[in-house]
């Protein structure tokens, strides 16, 4: 049966070598290779070919301004590149997904709603994808 229920099997989550596993509630790691149209006259169906990789990692983190937590980890990364690593353990199998040199464009510094724990959604784009 092909199911992956995420309870505690996200075993690693680091941004710029800093563990943010205890602040994360959602991670989406996407390996994308851009689709380029290659259809030409005479073709009766559209054809596509692979372009550049354009990888992405999005995550939702609890906002925390205290030492060594979310804000302190991310504030200095805005407008620069870093590494993101997500490790998943599924039974006896562990996969470690890495984006090397991905770019953080924006960081919501305040996201306040009455009566709710504050969270921030961030997106790392680009970088070289690898899996081990």
């Amino acid at each position: 049966m092909a199911t992956s229920t995420y309870l505690s099997n996200l075993s690693t989550l680091t941004v710029n070598a800093v563990s943010l596993l205890d602040q994360a509630t959602n991670v989406v790691f996407t390996n994308t290779k851009e689709q380029l149209e290659a259809t030409a006259f005479g073709d009766t169906s559209r054809k596509y070919t692979a372009g550049l990789f354009n990888n992405e990692c999005t995550m939702t983190l609890y906002q925390s301004y205290i030492s060594s937590e979310t804000y302190q980890t991310l504030a200095a990364l805005v407008g620069s590149t870093t590494n993101v690593v997500a490790g998943v353990t599924d039974g006896a199998t562990t996969k470690t997904f890495t984006l090397t040199g991905c770019y953080l464009e924006a960081l919501p510094v305040v996201n306040a709603s009455l009566g709710e724990l504050s969270t921030v959604d961030i997106t790392f784009t680009g970088g070289v994808y690898s899996v081990a």
Binding site: S19, S67, S68, T73, S80, T81, T82, T100
Partner: protein, 51 residues
């Protein structure tokens, strides 16, 4: 340049931090996660050789 871990979020405090390729060192220094290791020089003063 050597770096020393200052936060448990990246390893054992006091250990040397060896950055992987792609790690943003400036951000880690700015956030206080690591510090630069200051090399300590020997305080011993060489005495003049005895004749």
């Amino acid at each position: 340049m050597k770096y020393v871990i200052q936060s448990e979020k990246i390893g054992k405090i006091g250990d040397e931090f060896v950055p992987d390729y792609g790690i943003n060192i400036e951000a880690l220094l700015e956030g206080g996660f690591i510090s630069t290791a200051t090399e300590t020089k020997s305080s011993k003063v060489k005495s003049e050789p005895k004749e």
